[in-house]
């Protein structure tokens, strides 16, 4: 018995040298050697791939980075809305952080997933070695990575504009994660049931409505009390209120807001799991 032949030696990858066209020169380039990569490596690869695509997408960056930064800067500089007892920047930073979560975990996730579905990327991945739970986890990690960038960006700008945060960072983290789950469930539900174009339109519309009505930059106290109650029960309203009570008022974990967000997360993720169509 002799040892099996070694795998073919790759030709030098010099782009100026055209590869030989004689197939017999490389008889076993395609010789089968199947196998899945270790799951940890697949998770890392999928996450980095998705982060890279998002960071290169101009429209997504406008949504996740440019709009929050510009709004924070402009509205801090100019007294457009009455922020009541709060310093403007102290009122605005928690609202803008809620906007960041909404833009990444809802609008951006819904649009990108909707188009991945439309172009068959999800279907193609379903026949790759990547398990479905790994794909979902990679998407969740991608959202958290983008949000971490946003927190640094918005927090840094806020501090430069004189923001003085109070409260527990842990409570802030709990709210951000609960808000992420609430928005992600709704975003995936939309992406998995509507056409990609409809998702694009609806996700932007909801973003705009909640930007105006979700207590992000305009205090909910300015709205009539009936409407205000409804708005406080939206994920944006609950997240902005909760973040403001911690970061501006120095309160502990606002359980009411967490409960509202948890209810949205449960409903949205359950519905997405039930109705999401992969193709």
């Amino acid at each position: 018995m002799t040892a099996p032949d070694p795998p073919p030696v790759p030709p030098p990858s010099d782009a100026s040298v055209p590869p030989p066209d004689d197939a017999s020169a490389r008889p076993s380039l395609f010789a089968p050697a199947p196998g899945a990569a270790p799951v940890g490596r697949m998770l890392l690869a999928q996450t980095l791939f998705e982060v890279r695509l998002l960071l290169r997408n101009g429209e997504q960056l406008l949504l996740t980075a440019a709009i929050p930064v510009v709004l924070l800067w402009l509205l801090t500089a100019a007294p457009v809305f009455d922020t009541g007892d709060y310093e403007r920047v102290d009122f605005l930073v928690p609202g803008i952080l809620a906007l960041c979560v909404m833009s990444t975990a809802f609008t951006s996730l819904a649009i990108s997933t909707g188009y991945e579905r439309r172009y068959g990327a999800l279907k193609r991945l379903a026949v790759s070695p990547l398990p479905r739970w790994t794909l979902l986890l990679a998407k969740a990690l991608t959202v958290l990575v983008i949000e971490a960038f946003q927190v640094v960006l918005v927090g840094g700008l806020g501090l430069a504009l004189g923001w003085r945060p109070s409260g527990s960072p842990l409570a802030v983290a709990v709210l951000l994660v609960a808000g992420t789950l609430a928005f992600a469930g709704l975003g995936l539900l939309m992406a998995g049931t509507l056409r990609a174009e409809a998702t694009l339109a609806a996700a932007n519309l909801v973003y705009l409505l909640l930007l105006v009505l979700g207590g992000v930059v305009i205090p909910l106290s300015g709205f009539p009390s009936g409407l205000r109650t409804v708005l406080e029960l939206t994920p944006a309203g609950a997240l902005a209120d909760g973040l403001r009570s911690v970061l501006a008022d120095g309160a502990g974990l606002p359980w009411g807001s967490v409960a509202v967000l948890a209810a949205w997360a449960l409903a949205g993720l359950t519905a997405a799991a039930r109705w999401f169509r992969w193709e």
């Binding site: 790759p10 030709p11 990858s13 782009a15 590869p19 197939a23 008889p27 076993s28 380039l29 395609f30 010789a31 089968p32 050697a33 199947p34 196998g35 899945a36 990569a37 490596r41 697949m42 690869a45 999928q46 791939f49 890279r52 695509l53 290169r56 997408n57 188009y115 991945e116 172009y119 068959g120 990327a121 279907k123 193609r124 379903a126 026949v127 790759s128 070695p129 990547l130 398990p131």
Partner: protein, 314 residues
């Protein structure tokens, strides 16, 4: 060659609502061969392949791919199978071709070198450009999708209409590549509605329509079952084919298949040919492009599909 079939489909049924897209279909794919599933649009080709890929669950019957059940054992099967979806679908719209291939390579244990794969498939110009996949033409996406099916070094590939939308040159390059895959020991299952593709490539052709197998075998087996040969020739339109038929043996048939284009079906021997040419001489006709031939796979296919359509027509 392994005795265990790479794909084994028995009495497969898949219904959508009240219509059966696949209706009691059975065939086998021998390991290390190229099998073409040939049929018109809507014959059930894609449904069959997608059941083999684990996308759909059969309503009845059984499917084994590499000895595994694609619906239950998907996790074990997926690393061993390469898939090219129809229309070159299955890409991240914002990713560049090499990015996508590199990413898919990372999901496998010992993938092909992406730059080698790109060179082998002649994708260098796409690889150099910065255009994302959504901006590529249909044919370009097809070729990237084929590369994506191969990058994980699979035992078996399912290619759904791999040459649809390619120019003749691209089609020939793909055929050559599939020959190379077979030589390397990869089992290839492809769907096509192109008869010449099946005839040129496949070791085994399965002709299906309305979710059933109409015929299967090697291209030679499929065409040799028919004993009659064919003579084709051209001449002026509206010749008196009746007088030609009268001159030929009783078994012969003569048809003007298109104006000025004639077909004689009969057991061909030298005397038949002599009779034909002397009839032409008597009519003062110069027969153009006279051809003696076996019936092609196309003749067999059109006859089968025509008969199948006749049976199923309302």
């Amino acid at each position: 060659m392994s005795a265990v079939p790479a794909v084994e489909i028995s009495s497969l049924v898949k219904r959508y609502g009240s219509t059966a897209a696949v209706d009691g279909l059975s065939f086998q794919v021998a390991a290390g061969t190229i099998t073409a599933v040939l049929g018109p649009n809507g014959a059930g080709k894609t449904t069959t392949v997608e059941i083999c890929e684990g996308f759909r669950r059969p309503d009845d019957g059984a499917v084994r791919v590499l000895g595994l059940d694609p619906w239950r054992d998907g996790a074990a099967l997926r690393p061993r199978v390469g898939v090219m979806l129809q229309d070159g679908a299955g890409f991240y719209p914002g990713a560049r071709p090499v990015e996508l291939l590199t990413h898919l390579a990372r999901l496998h244990a010992s993938p092909l070198d992406v730059s080698m794969l790109v060179a082998r498939l002649g994708l260098e110009s796409l690889a150099r450009g910065r255009a994302p996949l959504r901006r590529l033409s249909g044919g370009e996406r097809q070729r990237v999708a084929l590369a994506a099916a191969l990058v994980g070094r699979p035992d078996l590939v399912f290619l759904d209409e791999p040459t649809a939308g390619l120019d003749p040159q691209g089609r020939r390059a793909t055929w050559q590549l599939l020959d190379e895959l077979r030589a390397a020991g990869v089992t290839v299952v492809l769907t096509t509605h192109l008869i010449d593709e099946a005839e040129r490539l496949a070791d085994h052709v399965v002709i299906i329509d309305a979710g059933r197998v109409l015929a299967e075998g090697t291209p030679q087996e499929l065409t040799s079952g028919v004993s009659d040969d064919v003579i084709r020739f051209g001449g002026p339109p509206r010749l008196d084919v009746g007088s030609l038929r009268a001159a030929l043996p009783a078994a012969a048939t003569v048809r003007e298949v298109a104006p000025g284009s004639y077909e004689v079906t009969a057991p061909v021997d030298p005397s038949l040919l002599a009779t034909l040419t002397s009839w032409c001489a008597a009519q003062d006709i110069l027969a153009e492009g006279l051809q003696v031939g076996r019936r092609s796979l196309e003749d067999v296919y059109l006859e089968l599909i025509g008969a199948s359509a006749g049976r199923t027509a309302p």
